[in-house]
Symmetry: C2
Subunit: 388 residues, 2 copies
């Protein structure tokens, strides 16, 4: 009974902090998500200590970001994504190579041996689609060609980041890299995405009346939510992030005739659950570890490398959209968010990172997540011309 | 990463099991909730062992039942509740006294000393509003006078059960019962409900345009959800169940001009989250402990006492509604659900219950929850005459 009380208090604080943060940010013409992350930092252990991330809260956060990417998928058609396939592929590949090369160069120059440097560099690689997706959604920009390139690139990015992580973990453990098994992992992941995406959209296009079969009047929603949870789980089994599966489920659901009511019904779910993701993300910023000149300088350097390298990769990959479009794509790829945090945690457990390096990498991941939304919003608003 | 995978699998299994269970039950003309609880028993440790209740799942279940009672409150006006105040009070009081007397008599006759008998009897007392509320909602019967009596009585019931638990715990520990401190607890709980209910509904009736103040277009929903979490937390601080606060929040929100859109927006939240409550409830049924004649006979006796005593209390208390109405109220008060489980857990930890007694009390709580919905549904359908 007492425990239920504690967790309800945490839920209440997180939810209210998110609303206040988002409101304040939006009044300052910033995207709401910036306010939610900042609110998380304030109520988290770093400042007020009212909310301490724990397992139930992490699970709620995970459900929140899964639903967010599901709803983004719901606004994305597979055909639209295919049309930008080439650019998305280039952005994904360059957006992995450039940060990885620059990251490992920096780490090696800072004195880390090569195998550790490559591990650290892996934390520079993976884009967190959640943050960008939320900004694009907030501004109603998901239908723009740049948004599609970003979303497609995020999927490719995630596949490459997973492969890269496999490589650096093997190198770190002193094992030789087994090209054969990496190829299998690659083929499995790509195969999973292609088969599910292709079959799923095809079936839904023709058979979406099946969703009305059950007695429950909300059955279209409950069936696609089951699909979302199922594919989120499956994609983790293929080494991909859960949000990739959720995005795929949303894309499949977007082919149904019930799409509009599904979009409508997803709104309250996002309103309740996504704040947990962003507030918990913010609560992980450890300000104390960064409260010295040494760490602060390292953080600035690392963050600059992270931003410049990803921006360059995205920009070069999307040049076919023109310089403006390419800039938007580059900026959209900058946030590392939770993926960087996860890799840094792995590194800490494996003894690759010191506490300082860990805090810096985590702060970099979150800083890129904080910096991106206002810039992206400004760029998108600026270009508010006659865009479809 | 691996852990996220496990929890996503649990979420998927629970959600799908709930949908299948509810669908099957409804096709068999049973309330969906019966199917969800049965599905929980099947996927839980007792049978398949696919889902093992853990902390994150318990939290999701708690959020589910909190939202359920919030949505029930949203369909309940304070004025309507006041009109049935006398009946609800009688039902609440008799529905506590009769089960408590019969329960302690049975326990003492079975050989328990008086202080333990009173503790065991406390598990017979508290009605779980969640199960009945779900059935009433499924059948669209929340506007009936019997439903209002049941909901009002559930609030009174919860206050009395809390006081009673305080008494038996003190007796168990060998302390004398401090009437003064019990009176304080009673006054605090009643005061909390009256003040929040009275002030809240009054403010909302006049100032519901405040809900539109924030930038977020979904702000009416997010504000009342914050209220729901806040009052759920507060009511645990006053010794009441979280769902009482959630019900209160819903009732306050029902006075707003945005009531209809709020009802609409709550539907997807219920669709996603209440299955966790019912499936997790079902997964706690420990069939193995009951697989012998001795325990089975004890279970049947205990369950019969639990049903008859509560039925009698509800029936006698609601006689002013006529015999049919009184029967509906009596049946509606029968489920013990999670409250009985919580008291049994307390008893187990305190060394009052043996493992067998514990399993029997838990099974009784859940059995009453399983038995009630079909009977209640049949009664309500039967009476489908010209009722308001």
């Amino acid at each position: 009974m007492h425990h239920a009380s504690d967790i309800l208090l945490s839920l209440f604080i997180i939810f209210v902090a998110a609303q206040l943060g988002a409101e304040l940010a939006q009044r300052l013409k910033l995207p709401g998500v910036v306010g939610e992350i900042a609110a998380g930092c304030i109520v988290g252990p770093s400042v007020l200590g009212w909310v301490v991330p724990n397992e139930p809260l992490e699970v709620l956060a995970e459900i929140g970001v899964v639903l967010l990417l599901f709803s983004v998928g719901l606004e994305t058609r597979l055909d639209d994504l295919k049309r930008v396939g080439r650019s998305a592929f280039l952005v994904g590949v360059l957006g992995v190579i450039i940060p990885f090369v620059m990251g490992s160069a920096w780490a090696h120059l800072s004195g880390f041996p090569w195998n550790k440097s490559l591990f650290i560099a892996a934390a520079f690689v993976a884009t967190s689609a959640g943050i960008t997706a939320r900004v694009l959604q907030e501004l109603g920009a998901l239908q723009r060609v740049e948004s599609r390139v970003i979303l497609g690139a995020a999927v490719i990015d995630d596949i490459l980041a997973m492969l890269l992580l496999g490589v650096v973990v093997a190198l770190q453990a002193g094992d030789s890299v087994n090209i054969g098994s990496l190829a299998v992992v690659l083929v499995e992941a790509v195969g999973f995405l292609l088969v599910i995406g292709w079959v799923g959209t095809r079936v839904m296009r023709r058979k979406s009346h099946w969703l009305e079969g059950p007695v429950n009047p909300l059955s279209p929603l409950t069936i696609v939510l089951a699909l979302c949870l199922g594919l989120a789980f499956l994609s983790t089994k293929f080494g991909l992030a859960a949000i990739i599966g959720a995005f795929l489920a949303g894309m499949i659901a977007s082919e149904t005739t019930q799409r509009e009511s599904l979009e409508h019904q997803t709104q309250p779910l996002l309103a309740l659950l996504t704040p947990f993701f962003f507030v918990i993300t913010g609560s992980k910023i450890d300000l104390a570890q960064l409260a010295n000149a040494d760490a602060l300088i390292m953080l600035i350097v690392v963050t600059l490398i992270a931003i410049v390298s990803k921006l360059a990769g995205g920009f070069l990959g999307a040049l076919s959209l023109g310089r403006r479009g390419a800039t938007i794509v580059g900026v959209g790829m900058v946030p590392r968010g939770e993926v960087g945090v996860v890799i840094a945690s792995l590194g800490l457990t494996a003894g690759v990172f010191t506490d300082k390096t860990y805090a810096v990498i985590v702060a970099m991941s979150l800083l890129t997540a904080m910096v991106t939304p206002p810039v992206l919003a400004a760029l998108l608003r600026q270009k508010d011309g006659p865009v479809p």
